[in-house]
Amino acid sequence: MPSHSQSMGRAAEMVLSLTVAGQPCGVPVLAVRDVLGPQTITRIPLAPPEVAGSLNLRGRIVTALDLRRRLQLPARPAGQKPMSVVVEHQGELYALLADGVGEVLSLSPAERAANPPTLDPAWKAVCQGVHRLGDSLLVVLDVERLMQIG
């Protein structure tokens, strides 16, 4: 089925854009299961700091990861409610908490660059690459690697 695999190939280059502390980021669209507005999140004591808590998505328990803390960015100002991008990882659902969720972008491979060698090691571990996006740079996050915490 050539047409199918072609469309798969295109989809693989599409990312959902989101912002974390002003930094544009992207998550491969195929990994995304849901996008949610602000949710009630139950804190989990003693959990790794990146784990913001858990929330109820239509009867399933979803673990929320705060991208700001995961990417070692300053904490979200009080009163600002995060959006959740729900992704699946090894059969479990995780919500990535971002400050804002934008649109689905189709990235052209030509504009893709490897991680700059000087990139913060914490970022390097979770970045798939960097894309030029008009004036700014968009960091494509690797969902698998984001989950490797603790």
Binding site: T40, T42, R43, I44, P45, L46, A47, P48, V51, G53, S54, L55, N56, G59, I61, T63, Q90, E92, Y94, M147, I149, G150
Partner: protein, 837 residues
Amino acid sequence: MDDILAEFLTEAHEGLQSLDGALLSLERNPNDTALLGEVFRTIHTIKGTCGFLGLPRLEKLAHAGENVLGLWRDGALPATAEGISLILAAVDRIKSILLGLQTEGVEPAGDDSAIIAGLDAASLRPPLTASPGPERPALPAAEPTPGSAPQTIRVAVDVLEDLMVLASELVLTRNQLLQIARSEVNSPFTLPLQRLSQITTNLQDGVMKTRMQPIGSAWQKLPRLVRDLAHELGKKITLDMTGAETELDRQVMELIRDPMTHMVRNSADHGLETPAQRRAAGKPETGHITLNAYHQGSHVLLEIGDDGRGLAVGMIREKALRQGLATPAQLAAMSEREIQRFIFRPGFSTAASVTSVSGRGVGMDVVKTNLERIGGVIELRSRPGRGTTFTIKIPLTLAIAGALIVEAAGERFAILQNSVLELVRVGERGGARVEMIKQTPVLRLRERLLPLVPLAPLLALEQPPRAEDATSFVVVTQVGAQVFGIVVDRVFDTEEIVVKPVTPILRDVTMFSGNTILGDGSVIMILDPNGIARATGLSVEGGGELAEAPPRPPLGRGEGERMALLLFRAGPGAPKAVPLGLIARLEDFPAERIEYAGETLVVQCRGSMMPLVPVGACAQMPAPGTRQAVLVFGDGDHAMGLMVDAILDVLEAPLLIERGGERPGFLGSAVIAEKVTEILDCAYWLRQGGADWFGQAAAKDASHPRLLLVEDSAFFRNLVVPALLAAGYDITGAANGREALRLREAGEHFDAIITDIDMPQMNGFQLLRAVRDGGPWEDVPVIALSGRAEPAEVEKGLAAGFTDYIAKSDREGLGLSLRRALQPRHAPAAITAPITG
């Protein structure tokens, strides 16, 4: 793999599973023709199908086995142990071929000629009848199937699992809907929702039932295991299994299958002695391993025991010392039971030699950890020379459980109800108090010190400052032998929850055993008492500090006797209780009937005035139009009423009073129906309202009889005194015979003596002898009051010279007896009716 083959595999597998058991029972009863027929048919069916499917290797093997079995069944040859070993070997081979078939889709290559030759030889040995050639025609297969439709169908486990998950989700959604509906008045959804709720519950029950399996199916392999072990170890072992029909959730069963097998193996290897050793110890050569399963509430109890040598405490002690698990001082302070529990420590094995059977690094610690993971507990009982028994307590199901919702530092958590022993409210005036032993909080609960674990600091939660005496709650829970309390700020209600495993990235957080979604849609973490015990060093086996494991207070001992209690509410604070036996009757007076007589409230009742005494804060006249609940003590002219806010309940419970002593009017508090309850001091209240009143009566009545009550239990004195006071006697108490005799020396005189039998220092019989031996009390009637009043006891008592011998519980009998004893002298005029007690 095609469908026919798959079906054959399932069928053959099922047949073979029961075959082991059948063959072993055949070994015991070689002449059981029904059993022989069954075994024959199973092998015959396999042979027939193999021929049909073109599986030559299996067919040949089954055929050789069938020949032998056919001869046994027809009685041409006796079924011998050697023969059964041959058949078992053939069955094992068939199983391994089937396994290959399942994974590869074709028969694996292999040589079965040795087994076949053995079987053929067995079928030839003593040819009693015509030689059965290998081509012996097969008998007609199996019994014809009955005409009716089959009552069971085969369903793939996956389908059941999916159903269970769906049913669980439905329960959660239902709970959520109900919560929403509760907040809306007159919703048109209410009725259909109730129906939906009911159906969901029924569906859940139904689905749960499909998951239940008799535990016997996990035991099927054990007889064979034990037989093989016995051969290998040169021991004689019988395995007794009872309660095989006990059902439990198959998920739980899968999880306990291995621990159970391990423990049976242990019993055979370590537990039981060799026949020679057993003979030397004066025991029968054959050792027994017993498996017993039964239900207890929402748990299954599983006992695995042997009648072997028991755990060698000396060896365990030595090993614990060598491995540095405890210091000699710690060991010296430990009870035998605690030392025995060292076998649950990681890396601990007592086997002197590592055999091929056990001692392969899988120790009891693994068994224990696996059990704890599913909320089970393991206990151990061992007596030297008599054997060891392990008792495993496991929940019936893991899927749906009752949970208690608690709060600490503003966060809510769930605790599974079956791990909660009791709830104690602390911090309130009159209730239990948390005490500090150098920073370490403890709770004195009944006769024991309970270590406490405050939840908020444990979970690193920021606790907003609370008032010093703010009420909090202690959730009493038990892990192994260790009972401890988890301190929380609030307790909400209980909720039925579906336990879901926590996400893998939280696996390092051991305080939680799972999480769930509550009816209000929020996610909540489920606390794991095992994890908490380990984290705080409370768990004896988990290493860390050696915690004291005080024995649980024995029930039914001394003052803990069960008795009927009336629970009521009066004023603020804990509910109150009074022994039902002391109350003559309960009244509910309309406010209009209550009047003032001077300072006190009275009510006209049965032609006389009864004083009313308020308990707690309800000192005023009740509002017009309302009614007043009253507990009436005494009877007839000599009655008084206690005004209470509400009667709560009547129940029978063990009464273990923890003496508070601070509040007049209360003997102390006890935990009744899981609530801290204050126990009324009846004597106090009778004096409060009625003292003058009774006193006046006493003053007027010169012939007011004086009684001496000799009784060591203060509680029982408190029980009897009010009843006798109310009946118009003047009563003096003494704690034992010696104290009573001191009163005689002091020149006191009594009209009758009532004495307990079992007392320290000087018992009832000794006191009687001392009284009858002469002196001023020589002729005073002495009535024995005993906890035991069997006819033989009574006879013995009367023979010794007691005027009467009455059971403690028989208060009416005491009244009658007193009147009879005092008749020739001076019975109180007022006492005409029996003392209602």
